[in-house]
Structures are given as C-alpha cells and as structure tokens.
C-alpha cells in the first residue's frame, strides 16, 4: 500500500519538476509569452492549462488501445478541442466573472504544445491513473513556472507586482523584460535553476 502511494507521489513530482516538459523540452513556451503579461492572467491560464492537461491526458491514455496509430493525431486534436470547450463552458457557468478572459484565451490553451506533447509523449505509454497524476504534476509545475516568470516580468519590466508599485522607483524598469525575448531569457534561467536543484541525489 505504501509502495503504491510512494510511486504515485514520485510520478507526480517527476512530472512537476525533474521531468517537466516545460522546463526540460521547452514545450509550451510560445503560449507562455502571451500568458505572462501580468501575474493574475498567468495564474488563471496555468490553472486552465492544468485542467486541459489532466482531461486530455487521461482520455488519450484510456483510448490508447482503441485508436489505431494511423489516425491518432486528428482524433486527439478533436478530443482536446472538445475537452477544452467543455472546461470553458463550465468555467463560464460557475465563474461568470472570468468569462471575457476565458473566451480570449481559448486558443493558446488548445495550441499549447505542452497539452498536446504530454498526451502524445507520456499518456500513450502509461496507465490512466499514472498519466492523470503526471498531468496534474506537469500542470502545477507549469503554473508555478508561468507565475514566477510573470512576477519577474512585471517587477523587472514594469516595476509593479499584481498592479502595485514595488521598489519605489529605486530600480529603473528594463523594457527588455516586458518584451518577448525577456521571457525566453527568464525561462532559460529558471530551467537551469531547476536542473541544478533536481540533479540526482549527491550530484554527478
């Protein structure tokens, strides 16, 4: 029983940090540029992506024996679009205040290579429960990644955090960080940091 629990936790943590495709393979970096203008949007988008990831990975894993390899990609595309549309309808019904935002950010989530790539790369080779846990880990890791980048971007590029001025004018904003190249730079630094932190026990 304990082994099962530990294994589940390992799958989750591996998806979240060491094996997170957003950090190790730079998947989902394109949408991240458009999602990290401010920290609140980043948080919202991260959660939406997490939901989409979990649903689409579990569906793909459950259907992996039914779908022949030759038609996998179009079927997966339709399933992902359907799942994300459903999630969006539910969000609109229960949290109407975010409605305008949800409509605007439908496409970046559909076109996030993180959702698509994880379902194609991981869920096809693992069981439903494993891919669900892994998707949850990847999604939460990605949300952290987005929020950290958005906070840094707001602080360094604009001198604000969640819309409030920080630094009190001591540090002049660097406009590079509010532009897209700054996101790539910050993502590279973050990815190196996580790689260093999670380097196998004791280091090589």
């Amino acid at each position: 029983m304990k082994d099962v629990k530990n294994r589940g936790l390992n799958v989750f943590l591996n998806g979240m940090l060491r094996g997170n495709p957003a950090l190790t393979m730079a998947l989902g970096i394109g949408p991240a540029i458009f999602m990290t203008y401010d920290a609140a949007t980043a948080l919202y988008m991260g959660l939406l992506t997490t939901l989409a990831l979990v649903v689409s990975c579990m569906l793909m894993s459950a259907l992996k024996r039914v779908l022949p390899r030759q038609v996998r990609i179009p079927c997966h595309m339709l399933m992902a679009v359907g799942a994300i549309t459903l999630i969006q309808f539910m969000l609109n019904a229960y949290f109407p205040m975010v409605e305008s935002r949800a409509n605007m950010y439908f496409l970046p989530v559909v076109l996030s290579s993180l959702v698509f790539g994880r379902a194609q790369g991981y869920a096809l080779r693992h069981s439903v429960s494993d891919s669900g846990l892994d998707a949850l880990g990847v999604g939460i890791g990605y949300t952290f990644f987005l929020v950290i980048i958005a906070c840094l971007r707001e602080m360094l590029g604009n001198g604000t955090l969640f819309g409030n001025a920080v630094f009190g004018g001591l540090i002049r904003p660097v406009s590079l960080f509010s532009m897209a190249p700054g996101v790539l730079f910050l993502a590279g630094c973050l990815s190196a940091l996580v790689k260093r932190m999670t380097r196998g026990g004791g280091g090589r």
């Binding site: 950090l23 179009p74 679009v81």
Partner: protein, 197 residues
C-alpha cells in the same frame, strides 16, 4: 507581383515566424540540436503550411460559407491540419522510421504550431486569392526554415563552448533564442524602408 514580393519580405524577414512572432517555438528548441532533424522539421512544417492553407481556403469557400457554419471554422481548420500531419507521419513512418522515432513527440507537435492555424485564418480574414494564400504559406515556411537553419548554427557553437553543467541543453538554447530574437528586431523598419509604406 508587388503583392507577392511584399508578402515574401514581410513573412521571411521582417515578421519572421520564429524570432519575431514567436510561433512554433517548441519545435525550435528540441530539434535544432541535430542538423538532420532540424532540416526534416523545417520541410515537414513548410509542407503542412502550404497544403493546409490551400485546403483551408477551399474549405472556407466551398463548405463553411455556403453552409453558414463560421462558428466551426477553427475546429475544422485544426482538424485539417491534424490530418495533414498524420498523413505525413504515416508516409515517413514507412520511409524513415528511425528519424520519426528520434523526433519523438516533436513530430506530432507540428500540429499545434500556431503559425499554421494563424496563416489559415489570416488568409480567410484578408480574403486572399488561392495564389496569395500559397505564397504567404510558402513565405512563412521559408521564414521558419531560415530561423531553424540560423539557430542550428548557433546551437552548434554553444555545444562546443564550456558552459556550466546546469546550463547545458535547453536552458542555453532558450537564452540563445532570446538573443537571436533581439537581433531580428533590427529588421523592424525594413518593410517601410523598402516598400515606402
């Protein structure tokens, strides 16, 4: 003629799909490590771009508009693109199985390259003719291949240099991509300079 030239200059250089519009970045970082996979991804992406924008143009004219189902446009376009990618994968799975295996998830990811969908919807919104649709798709494909080619060279230089262990691979590639994209900002005024607009 002038239209064609204008579209080509804009899509290949001034609005380079990878480094100015940041579309399809996930297929840039991974496959650019090896020259062979970079070339293959560029060819596959350009092929999908050209065929899907032609198919999207026909779909809009002969199916979506007559039936009045504009609300299904995005889904149908995505489905067409996914079919194209799957078709290519099936072909290459027979011809070059080792290459597909090495590309791993990067091949299916071509489907979600936002430049492809962006071109399809852009062609419909701006009411291009079929020729212009194909030219703009080819221009974006050429821009993608140019970016990929340049970046493979940069990656080669990075691999040779002495980097801290934790920066090797993806982190260094991301930082390099950020610097290359700053270089592409220099082309910003080129279009208005050449065409006087």
């Amino acid at each position: 003629m002038r239209d064609i030239l204008y579209i080509l200059v804009v899509t290949v250089i001034a609005n380079n799909v990878l480094f100015v519009r940041f579309e399809g970045l996930s297929t840039l970082i991974g496959p650019s490590e090896k020259r062979g996979s970079a070339l293959f991804i560029s060819i596959a992406t350009s092929t999908v771009l050209i065929f899907s924008s032609a198919a999207g143009w026909a779909l809009e004219r002969y199916v979506i508009q007559p039936l009045g189902i504009e609300y299904l446009r995005i889904v149908l376009l995505l489905f067409i693109i996914a079919c194209m990618v799957q078709f290519l994968e099936n072909i290459f799975m027979g011809a070059r199985p080792a290459l597909i295996a090495r590309l791993n998830v990067y091949f299916p990811i071509i489907t979600v390259n936002s430049a492809i969908l962006g071109n399809c919807t852009g062609v419909i919104e701006q009411d291009y003719s079929l020729l212009l649709a194909i030219v703009s798709a080819a221009g974006i494909g050429a821009g993608f291949s140019l970016g990929m080619f340049l970046f493979t060279g940069v990656r080669g230089r990075i691999e040779d240099s002495a980097l801290p262990e934790s920066f090797r691979g993806t982190p260094a590639a991301l930082i390099a991509a950020s610097i290359v994209s700053l270089a592409f900002l220099g082309f910003e005024g080129a279009v208005s300079g050449i065409f006087g607009m």
